[in-house]
């Protein structure tokens, strides 16, 4: 989708600017301020019903709605891609209710709402990354009692989080937690970074961009302010590491990006391609090629992306 032409807000859609009413937006902004002031702490907020089902990004969409301004340029990604259902729908939602410009280019966006990925391109200080979070509580599967979870956070009794990693090593010989990999923010709170691959964990550390997390169903907000220390948990003898691939991206040849494995047929052939579609597209535009650039199997995929 190319950048929409911006017009003055005329309210013709029948919605308030960015869908939510002003009081709700103020309430969410107050919670965001608290979340930024206490990095990694889950702030409860009065999550509203949104016109999409829980689990589709109701938390992220409320955060975006309360921070977006008329001059913002919005990018929405889902699993790194700009053209999946979730991303297209949320982008269309804000194009309609806030009449803001949208883009697929990471560098042009001022607000990026994301599900499951952090863009490959390094973010700047004038950008905000909004995460959609299904389950904000990193302790949830170890400690079902909410009262106990809150005490564990309050008193920093985080040894139990280590038990989860211990279990991984005991069962599989290495830490197999690959997404929603727990991090410690600013040497204090343990935080669930939402289901991003652990590949993206290092990008959160000392990031220039403000990172906001919204969980609509669980009614929690949390944040990582710019330039904040974010450590992934590990053991001394089993240090944290990120995923690696034996092959480069089949389309652009990138070796430093998160790759999706794509099954091409029922004969077992497969390819790896960047999950960040914008990153991959820009590299191809710059002339980078991968081993499958001219493969007939990828031609359909290329044609499809041109239509969006």
């Amino acid at each position: 989708m190319s950048a929409r032409k911006r017009e003055a807000w005329d309210g013709e859609t029948g919605y308030n600017f960015a869908y939510l009413d002003e009081q709700t937006k103020r309430m969410i902004r107050r919670c965001i301020l608290k979340a930024v002031a206490v990095p990694g702490y889950q702030v409860p907020f009065g999550s509203r019903e949104m016109p999409l089902p829980y689990g589709w990004g109701t938390g992220g969409i409320q955060v975006t709605a309360s921070i977006i301004g008329r001059d913002d340029i919005l990018k929405v990604i889902d699993q790194g891609s700009d053209d999946t259902t979730n991303a297209v729908s949320i982008r269309a939602f804000f194009a309609k209710t806030a009449n803001v410009a949208t883009t697929e280019e990471t560098s042009k966006a001022s607000v990026i709402q994301t599900r499951h990925r952090i863009p490959e391109q390094k973010l700047r200080a004038d950008q905000i990354l909004v995460y959609q979070v299904p389950n904000p509580e990193p302790l949830r599967f170890l400690e079902p009692r909410e009262t106990e979870c809150r005490k564990v956070h309050a008193y920093s009794e985080y040894g139990v989080m280590q038990v989860k990693l211990y279990e991984d090593i005991a069962r599989f010989g290495r830490i197999t937690t690959a997404y929603a990999y727990p991090v410690r923010v600013n040497d204090r709170y343990i935080m669930d970074p939402s289901p991003i691959p652990k590949f993206d964990n290092p990008k959160m550390d000392n990031s220039s961009a403000l990172q906001l997390f919204g969980a609509g169903r669980e009614k929690r907000l949390y944040a990582i302010p710019p330039y904040t220390k974010v450590d992934s948990l590990d053991f001394e003898d089993h240090p944290f590491d990120i995923e690696t691939w034996d092959e480069p991206c089949g389309l652009c040849g990138a070796t430093d990006s998160f790759l999706d494995e794509i099954i091409l047929d029922d004969q077992g052939s497969r390819m790896f391609a960047c999950s960040d579609s914008n990153f991959c597209g820009e590299r191809r535009a710059e002339g980078h090629t991968g081993p499958m650039t001219n493969d007939p199997a990828t031609r359909i995929e290329e044609g499809a992306s041109k239509n969006v």
Binding site: G159, V160, V163, A170, F235, E236, D237
Partner: protein
């Protein structure tokens, strides 16, 4: 021993549940390395007293003070909650009657044993693993089961695992609520044997609640007999069991089945 050595000092502790007097004006001192048995019939307030001592229940009146490793005496209910929780997972242990209350059933045996170590900041997998293996051996659990979740263990094995999980942090005081309840007699005997050995070896003080006088006889140095929330008789175990003074103690001792 001088008064300074007292590990746990209990003074006039009472706990009411509405009209029910579960614990009535209980006072005693516990010294390091001492095993104190609390016996009495069901509903006599043994478990309530134990829960109060372990700070799991707040008594309505009375004082419980604990002397830590550095000789500092503090009222356990005057401490801040994080301090109390820290104490409960380092210096203290609590063995539940039902091991499923004291274990994480989805976590492997090794993880269960290692949890306390990780809680106090151990971040070296190899060390944790080694310690877990050591404790599996000490409580006579097969090393091959270290990566099995406790839900696949028998009752006796679960209970031994729970004991290992508590003792791994080197506690100075362990509370036990009927540790042999619900186990068959041969497993009970083995567990008692193990407990006696560990308690002597580690010089850990124990408050053990039981309704089984044989357990009390085998494990405890001192005995308190409770009835209707009050302590009716206390003294050295052999003294209480061989020469009970209170009518209720006499009844209790005479009720032991002879085979």
């Amino acid at each position: 021993m001088s008064d300074d050595d007292v590990l746990l000092h209990v003074e006039h502790v009472s706990k009411y549940f509405g009209q029910i007097r579960a614990c009535d004006d209980v006072s005693f001192d516990l010294w390091p390395g001492e095993v104190l048995g609390i016996v009495g019939e069901s509903g006599s307030g043994k478990t309530t007293l134990l829960n109060c001592l372990a700070a799991r229940l707040v008594p309505d009146s009375g004082l419980i003070s604990y002397t830590n490793r550095h000789g500092e005496v503090s009222d356990i209910f005057a401490m801040s909650e994080p301090e109390r929780r820290m104490l409960a997972r380092t210096d203290w242990g609590f063995v539940h009657q039902n091991p499923r209350d004291g274990l994480r059933l989805d976590i492997t045996a090794g993880g269960n044993i290692g949890e306390r170590l990780m809680m106090v900041g151990e971040r070296h997998y190899g060390n944790i693993r080694h310690e877990a293996e050591t404790w599996m051996n000490r409580v006579e659990l097969e090393l091959g089961r270290i990566d099995s979740p406790p839900r696949t263990f028998s009752g006796g094995m679960q209970q031994r695992l729970q004991i290992a999980r508590n003792l791994v942090s080197g506690p100075r005081l362990v509370f036990m609520d009927e540790p042999t309840g619900g186990l068959d007699v041969s497993v009970q005997a083995r567990l008692l044997d193990l407990l006696r050995e560990l308690v002597r070896e580690l010089q850990v003080a124990v408050v053990i609640v039981t309704h089984d006088l044989a357990v009390a006889r085998l494990l405890s140095d001192r005995l308190m007999v409770m009835r209707h929330g009050a302590v009716v008789e206390s003294g050295l175990t052999d003294q209480v069991l061989d020469d009970p003074q209170h009518a209720y103690s006499q009844l209790l001792v005479s009720s032991i089945l002879q085979v």
